[in-house]
């Protein structure tokens, strides 16, 4: 059991982190104090062209030296600092959260690393697999993940979440069941501009992991949710699928449902299932994904985890519980529960 919540303002009007903290804290019963986190989009406008790399360092000695060296070799660091934190009684600061604003060098972009996104993906995989004492947990542009072991309020206060203003917010309250509670195991899980909050288990993790590792991703964070971020990057960015199609691949309709579809629709769904069989996610899950152009919410195909949607004009909310949405926005107009596997998508208005 975990608590998740996602928010988007489609006009990119920004909201500070105090509301999501209150909303997520309402679902404290869904967590165990072993992990909580937030993702906010639109928070670094002054560095919008640079990748904001958030890193957990065990210490600022050897691990940081290695990361500094790698980044300098791969591009330019325009600014770096410790992420501001305020000590909380409920949080033991076992890592030092650090941020770099980084631009990859164009000289590197060739072959399998044809774009700056490819270079940054390579850096994240390299550091997380091979640099002891360093974990890059956020690597998007103009966005950032803030997470730690603790309760939602404590983690929010630790990172002074009220100081950030974003047009997309994700929040997660963790109840670890199968894997350890540690800072890197808290959600959201992020790669580039993809951030994932997840309630449930990916029981197909092994199959999905083998599939993404064939494309150069490396699952090194000891938790199933990590693979969902890489699946979105592979299908959504590298293969160029729409958000709707990614959800169709990860949580597809059953074969008997496909058999009842009109011929053309059936053909498409069959093709997606056959092409992306190893990407299909089994097990109970409710997920919200933050992306470059909006948020995407969906559940497993037989809806073993709750998901509620709320709307108020340009604002869309997706959460485990209706009450959390009502805390976030007491004026929320429409509340409904989506069907299993149905993508709920909030995009920016151009």
């Amino acid at each position: 059991m975990c608590g998740i919540i996602g928010f988007i303002d489609r006009t990119k009007s920004k909201m500070d982190g105090s509301s999501i903290k209150a909303a997520l804290s309402l679902m404290n019963e869904r967590g165990s104090g072993d992990g909580a986190g937030y993702a906010a989009y639109g928070i670094y406008p002054e560095y919008a062209d640079y990748y904001a790399l958030h890193v957990f360092f065990d210490n600022l000695g050897e691990p940081k030296k290695k990361v500094d060296e790698l980044l300098q070799q791969m591009g330019e660091i325009v600014h770096q600092e410790e992420i501001p934190t305020t000590p909380q009684p409920g949080i033991k600061k076992v890592h030092i959260p650090w941020r770099y604003f980084f631009k990859p060098s164009e000289d590197l972009m060739a072959g399998r690393m044809a774009s700056e996104n490819d270079v940054v993906t390579y850096i994240v995989m390299e550091v997380n697999a091979n640099v002891k004492g360093a974990t890059i947990f956020s690597s998007g542009k103009n966005m950032g993940v803030f997470k730690a072991s603790g309760w939602p309020e404590d983690v929010a206060n630790f990172y002074r979440i009220e100081d950030y203003k974003g047009y997309i917010w994700l929040g997660h309250n963790r109840y670890p069941t199968n894997t350890p509670g540690w800072w890197g195991g808290a959600h959201p899980f992020n790669l580039l501009n993809w951030s994932v909050v997840h309630n449930g288990e990916i029981t197909s993790y092994g199959t999905n992991q083998r599939y993404v590792e064939g494309y150069g991703y490396n699952c090194s964070l000891f938790t199933d949710t990590e693979v969902v971020a890489y699946l979105f990057d592979l299908l959504g960015r590298q293969h160029g699928l729409s958000h709707e199609m990614v959800v169709k691949a990860l949580a597809p309709p059953f074969w008997d449902e496909i058999d009842r579809m009109p011929a053309k629709e059936a053909e498409l769904n069959k093709a997606v299932r056959l092409t992306y069989g190893p990407a299909l996610m089994n097990g109970p899950f409710a997920i919200v994904v933050g992306t470059e152009n909006g948020i995407v919410g969906f559940t497993d195909r037989i809806k073993l985890r709750p998901l509620v949607v709320g709307e108020n004009g340009n604002r869309l909310y997706i959460s485990s519980e209706e009450a959390a949405i009502r805390v976030y926005d007491p004026e929320v107009k429409t509340i409904y529960t989506p069907r299993a596997g149905e993508p709920i998508i909030g995009r920016f208005i151009e």
């Binding site: 309402l26 019963e29 809806k303 709750p306 519980e321 009450a323 529960t337």
Partner: protein
């Protein structure tokens, strides 16, 4: 009549339930809870005949193990209202989340609008004296009456072309009955579920429940008495016998 009013704004469920229990012990016959938002476990394990009016959206497991009281919710409910409820009644003037009436043992749960997935899952029954009833005004998502062992689930589909459009109805059902207004497509039936003829005597049997539901929500009962229903029950009392035993 002794009435108690509690403002629950920002209150955690533990002190809230303590206040409710104290009020009941003090002889309250009606308790009004204002500004409810997400408090779980309201009325859990509560006995007696108290009437609880809930203004807002209560959290999960409303009325769990409850035996006797009536809860009227002016708002939606979250997951599993009526979980393992024993006696009494929940009346929800809105919609409810997944697993409504989960493992319910007796009493009534009336939901005005829709319910989520797995409504009536594991509902059970003992003879005639402990027979749980779930009535849904709108529609229900998949796996309605999953693994149902007893009791009655009734779906009206008010305002819908078809009362049920989601799959897996009565999946694994081995007791009890699911009655749905209008026709139900065969492919919506779950494994182990089977359609039975809905007879005059069935209608006679459920008429008091229909009337009681309509009374709660201000509907005209004649609309629901002069219409056809589909009755779904277990194809066998051991739908998965062949999965676990070899004979």
């Amino acid at each position: 009549m002794k009435m108690v009013r509690i403002d629950a704004r920002g209150m955690h469920y533990t002190p809230l339930n303590q206040k409710i229990r104290a009020a009941v012990a003090d002889g309250a016959e009606e308790i009004v809870l204002d500004n409810i938002l997400g408090q779980r476990f309201i009325g859990d394990g509560l006995r007696g005949n108290v009437r609880i009016i809930i203004n807002g959206v209560p959290g999960g497991d409303l009325g769990m193990f409850m035996s006797g009281p009536t809860c009227i919710v002016h708002g939606n409910a979250e997951h599993a209202p009526g979980n393992t409820m024993d006696r009494g009644m929940l009346v929800i003037h809105g919609s409810a989340g997944d697993a409504v009436a989960h493992s319910m043992r007796g009493g009534k749960v009336f939901v005005k609008n829709n319910i989520g997935y797995r409504g009536g899952i594991h509902m059970k029954q003992y003879e005639v004296e402990a027979r749980p009833i779930l009535v849904v005004g709108g529609t229900a998502h998949s796996f309605l009456g999953e693994y149902m062992a007893g009791g009655l689930v009734l779906v009206f589909g008010i305002g819908k072309d078809k009362a049920m459009t989601d799959r897996g109805i009565g999946s694994g059902i081995h007791g009890g009955e699911i009655i749905i207004r209008g026709e139900v497509d065969d492919y919506l039936l779950g494994i182990g579920a089977k359609k039975f003829k809905f007879t005059e005597s069935d209608l006679e049997r459920i008429a008091p429940i229909i009337k009681s539901f309509c009374e709660q929500f201000g509907y005209d009962a004649t609309d629901f008495l002069n219409t056809n229903y589909t009755k779904i029950g277990p194809a066998s009392s051991r739908p998965f016998a062949s999965k676990y035993v070899w004979e």
